[in-house]
């Protein structure tokens, strides 16, 4: 089966010469939920920007469900890769929730009843249907983040890419978002340094450090490897003990 996402020897330097990625290689199979861990400045955001062609690779390739990211395929790539940004105020730019969720599919040329169906379906999946006619800035932060997820779900993406989904959420909103993400049947790549959240939601984790993939394996194993974590400026929260490999909690 074609993997949802294939990143191969991806390298990138910013126009000012700063090299951010030095040959990144990984694959995500269909339906997998994978955490991308890494300290600040590891190149996580730069990598994410490559996944839907906002940045174009200096070297190497990104392939989404068999389609390579290139100038000519951007439209289809952006439909297949749903990017959820960290600040929902950046993601929700339309005057009402309905228009915001409709923005993506409408750009794909969808209209009429099909558009309405997509908008309502996406909001239903994140449990936010009742806010459909409200302006985004009247919602709580947690609600806005869930609507932000709906805005990309409405495009029926192949893979959902979330940038720090748990940041700034209170514990209840954090759990509600986890419930939503678990209920979705799409491939998920979650960029985070919230290690317990990664463990809760993703079976597999990657560590991006210094512009390369430093580790790739079951999340439980990676989080139990204290040396590995320390080498890449990752730390478990105080009092948190990861389950031992082979002994699921």
């Amino acid at each position: 089966m074609t993997p949802s996402l294939e990143v191969s020897r991806l390298a990138y330097a910013y126009p000012d010469g700063t090299q951010a990625l030095f040959g990144v290689d990984f694959e995500i199979g269909r339906g997998e939920r994978v955490a991308l861990l890494g300290p600040n400045g590891a190149g996580k955001t730069t990598l994410v920007m490559h996944l839907n062609g906002i940045l174009t690779a200096g070297h190497g390739t990104v392939t989404v469900a068999g389609l390579p990211v290139s100038k000519g395929s951007l439209r289809e790539i952006r439909r297949r890769v749903g990017l959820v940004f960290q600040d929902p105020d950046d993601q929700l730019f339309m005057p009402t929730v309905r228009e915001d969720v409709a923005f993506g599919p409408a750009n794909l040329g969808i209209g009429g009843e099909e558009l309405e169906r997509r908008v309502k379906g996406a909001l239903e999946r994140v449990g936010m249907l009742e806010t459909i006619d409200r302006p985004p800035h009247h919602l709580s932060f947690g609600q806005r983040r869930r609507v932000a997820v709906a805005t990309v779900l409405a495009m029926e993406p192949e893979i959902l890419v979330l940038d720090e989904p748990s940041s700034n959420l209170d514990p209840a909103s954090r759990r509600e978002l986890a419930d939503v993400l678990r209920s979705l049947d799409v491939t998920v790549l979650m960029v985070t340094h919230d290690l317990p959240y990664a463990l809760e939601l993703c079976d597999r984790a990657l560590i991006l450090s210094g512009g390369t993939i430093a580790a790739d394996g079951p999340t439980g194993e990676i989080l139990s490897d204290a040396e590995l974590l320390a080498a890449h400026r990752l730390e478990l929260p105080y009092g948190f003990a990861p389950p031992r490999p082979g002994h699921p909690s």
Binding site: M49, N52, I54, R75, R78, R79, V81, L83, F85, D87, D89, D90, Q91, F93, M94, P95, T96, R98, E99, A102, F103, G104, A106, N107, L108, G111, L115, P135, P136, H137, H138, T151, V152, M155
Partner: protein, 255 residues
């Protein structure tokens, strides 16, 4: 978050006036204003009829008089200007309550007050019955350049976000013992304004990325169909239509 609701002129409702497509209402108000402005200032009857027409619209839209009055504060600068005219005007003087006033100035003041008031009341009625975003979509249908409409849309969406950011910056300043008391403090406030500008600019870039990520290619997709039927245009046309009849009728009497 926070501020949100307070600065809204719009009053939710479900009347005939509320339901009219925004482009019809915009065009009707503009045409009405044209008729008002074209009326010679001596034709008192016509102005009275215009006021009655607006009152009828207010009743149909269930907008209370008090709410219209409160929203008319925007007219105050014009009122001040108009009141000054009889004192500073030239030409023939008339004496009123012991004051020597310019007759020409009095006419000008009346002219400005009457026409501005009618225009402002019509606009307040429009704003009270039309959501701001619909107003913009209506303007777009009336061929306002889409770029301007998009800019205004983003202003609507982000005004609260930016005001909130401004408030946080003020709290941060004051938490460190700063209060703006005199001119010497202007540089500090100016630097905050600069920082706010840069933050907003950066947010603009991030929003643009978010738009690109969802397939934006330079023009806003049409999400809400706002087409108006001939009947709706006819209903909206009643206000300027009746005003025009009043104008021509008064003209007929004057001949």
């Amino acid at each position: 978050m926070g501020a949100g609701h307070h600065h809204q002129i719009y009053r939710a409702g479900d009347t005939l006036v509320h339901r009219l497509p925004p482009q019809c209402k915009l065009a009707a108000v503009a045409a009405f204003a044209l008729v008002v402005v074209a009326t010679p200032r001596e034709w008192f009857w016509a102005f009275g009829l215009y006021a009655l027409l607006l009152a009828a619209v207010a009743v149909a839209a269930r907008v209370p008089a008090l709410s219209v009055l409160r929203r008319m504060v925007i007219e105050i600068p014009f009122v001040v200007f108009a009141v000054a005219l009889p004192f500073i005007g030239f030409g023939e003087r008339v004496s009123l309550l012991g004051l020597s006033l310019s007759a020409e100035g009095l006419w000008s003041a009346w002219n400005i007050l009457a026409k501005a008031t009618l225009g402002v009341v019509a606009s307040v009625l429009l704003a009270s019955t039309t959501e701001p975003r619909l107003m913009l979509l209506g303007a777009q249908r009336l061929r306002l350049p889409p770029l301007l409409v998009q800019i205004a849309m983003f202003m609507l969406r982000y005004l609260d976000v930016i005001v909130d950011e401004m408030r946080r910056m003020r709290v941060a300043r004051e938490s460190r013992g700063f209060t703006a008391r005199d001119v010497r403090h202007i540089p500090v406030v100016a630097r905050s304004a600069g920082a706010l500008f840069i933050r907003s600019y950066e947010r603009g870039e991030r929003v643009h990325l978010a738009m690109l990520s969802r397939g934006y290619s330079g023009s806003m997709p049409i999400i809400q169909d706002l087409s108006a039927s001939a009947r709706q245009w006819l209903v909206a046309g009643m206000l300027p239509g009746a005003a025009l009849v009043a104008l021509l009728g008064t003209w007929g009497l004057a001949l």
